[in-house]
Subunit: 207 residues, 4 copies
């Protein structure tokens, strides 16, 4: 049983992703969620706080798995990075709708809470990558110690641009929009591609 509150949240997520936050009206959300328009204010306070709630929910979800990975002592640094990429790729694909919103909002949104969510999330990832890279370099697992900002930008940039560009690439390759086998293959290839680029950046060679 899905609650009205969640109904609103998910309906809003979809619409924000498709049309952007500003272009989505509370009326549309209420219609899509099949609830009265006043429920948005009732549950969330305002349209903007609904967006905040959405960010809070989705970003808390994402924060959990990374801690789990870096705490796992059975994995070496490359395995950790590799696993993070696996999870991240998977997650971005699953949560495409939300990451669409995220990308838009981080470019124009001036909401303080959302800015803080995003910044803290990114700074957290930077720190993790920083530590893993240093550790790998000190243990001579990695031969290079890359600029962590550029490594982060490369990883995330590839991920998001690849996701966003997929429909256009399908068109370039003359693949039907509905061909989901292509998608599966594409994301698999993307995952390997990202890891290959990272290996090169880190100077890591699999035995």
């Amino acid at each position: 049983m899905i609650s009205k509150e969640e109904n609103i949240l998910f309906a809003a997520e979809k619409l924000f992703s498709e049309k952007g936050f500003e272009k989505t009206s509370t009326r549309e959300i209420s219609r899509a969620a099949n609830v009265n328009i006043s429920m948005i204010s009732y549950y969330f306070g305002s349209k903007e706080k609904l967006l905040e709630k959405l960010f809070e929910m989705r970003m808390v979800e994402s924060q959990s798995y990374i801690q789990e990975i870096i705490a796992n002592e059975k994995l070496n640094v490359w395995e950790k990075i590799s696993l993070i990429v696996d999870r991240y790729t998977k997650r971005v694909r699953q949560m495409k709708v939300f990451y669409n919103i995220l990308q838009t909002e981080q470019l124009t949104n001036k909401n303080e809470r959302i800015i803080t969510f995003l910044k803290n999330s990114k700074l957290g990832y930077l720190k993790v990558y920083d530590e893993l890279c240093r550790e790998g370099f000190e243990k001579k697992i990695f031969k290079k110690l890359p600029n962590i900002a550029l490594l982060h930008a490369t990883l995330n940039g590839m991920m998001f641009y690849a996701m966003n560009g997929l429909p256009m690439y399908k068109e370039y390759f003359n693949v039907s929009k509905d061909n989901s086998d292509f998608d599966d293959h594409y994301f698999e290839e993307l995952n390997l591609h990202i890891k290959q680029v990272l290996k090169n950046l880190l100077g890591y060679e699999e035995n």
Copy 2:
């Protein structure tokens, strides 16, 4: 002497970049451009057509240099790619304001003309990269023939994410917001970084 029309165009570009298209009102644009509100409809037809005009103007500008490079017979394929990256990096930095809009609009905009501009632009680049890669591979200058979609996504993703993330990276490195020396160095490093990643993807080794 700058015309009223251009005044509006540039004022709108700045505001769209800062606040997003939807959140920018025609009143704000007219105030910033120091013209009457009705001039926007008068010159451009509507707010949306103003955005179209902006895209048209900026994207036509970008299309010109690439043809020039690939037509230059004095350059080998890697030099061409290298030059494209140089120009692109420079351009994205210079036109940061516009590329901010571009990134937002390509995620949510449903305007047909703008979608077409963007798609054609990207398909054009894809074709160029495709041809250069094939040529380099055939001429054994490159050892690998990478997935062109992933190469494109990597190149563009790195570029945009690195640009957007700069303020956050400065914070991570405890660098003052106003430190433009850092910026200069950052973009220089970014340029080299992009080329290094491309070299690896293409299996290109400098003599």
Copy 3:
């Protein structure tokens, strides 16, 4: 032990006085009374009926003392008038919060029951003053028989305007807002002032 119903009534009275009936929301009342919003409709039927109840309560209270005074055979007419003024002055000061509401509502309220409350109350006072003035005139205690409407308007007008204007007068006299000694003295003086004006209007001279 104060009941929830009374809690609401007194919280509403305070808020109506401070902000006016219209600007006070049921949410605010419920918050101030520490009860659920629906209790207002539950106990009183509606926000408007809550106001009616408030008027009913306060005006019934005020009606009682006047009958007591005019029935007292030990007092002569002037003593009766003097006592009414004493009680009225005291009551208006004590019930300042309610009389604030009363003044506002009699100017704009269209609620029939409230209009009737107010009208009956005033007509009752008019009748009392009328009878006392006539009796005093016939018994030659008063030398004049003033227009009873103007006498009523003068008495009430002085009272309410003096009450409302107090903060401003304090400012004029450079007296601190918190100086309650000034207030005590002010209301004492007001009481004497009202009686003096009445004496003049009635042509009454103390032995």
Copy 4:
């Protein structure tokens, strides 16, 4: 020719007087003024600023005549006071609609500009009365020097309460609502009554 702006202002004044500021909707005002609803924001910025404008307009009007009177060297102090009362009575009757609003708003309104308008106006009157009373007392025209606050409260209280109470008094005297002869006589009597009360307060006797 009456402008749209004035149309709105006067329509709003009437409605505010009848129903109170809060209970009057912008839609009603626009309907009454026969203009589009958005014109209120267009001309005045907001409903509240419309009220401010109304106060500004009416109170500036009232400030002018008093200066004229006190500057007139041909009049002695009593004649000045008498003339102020004449004008004030006349004005309150003419501007009944506005003074209704004024009375309501000074009890509940929290708008700073309006509070300031009202306070300054009253402090101005207090000062004028203060000076005239002192002058009259020093010149032995008046035998008494009354508490200026109480004098002010008495004058204004009588005026407003008499105006507000008129319909009720007519009912008490069994006079038809539509009998305007009664009104004329009533206000004439009120004017004399006020002056008589003031004479008593000031200890002034006409030769």
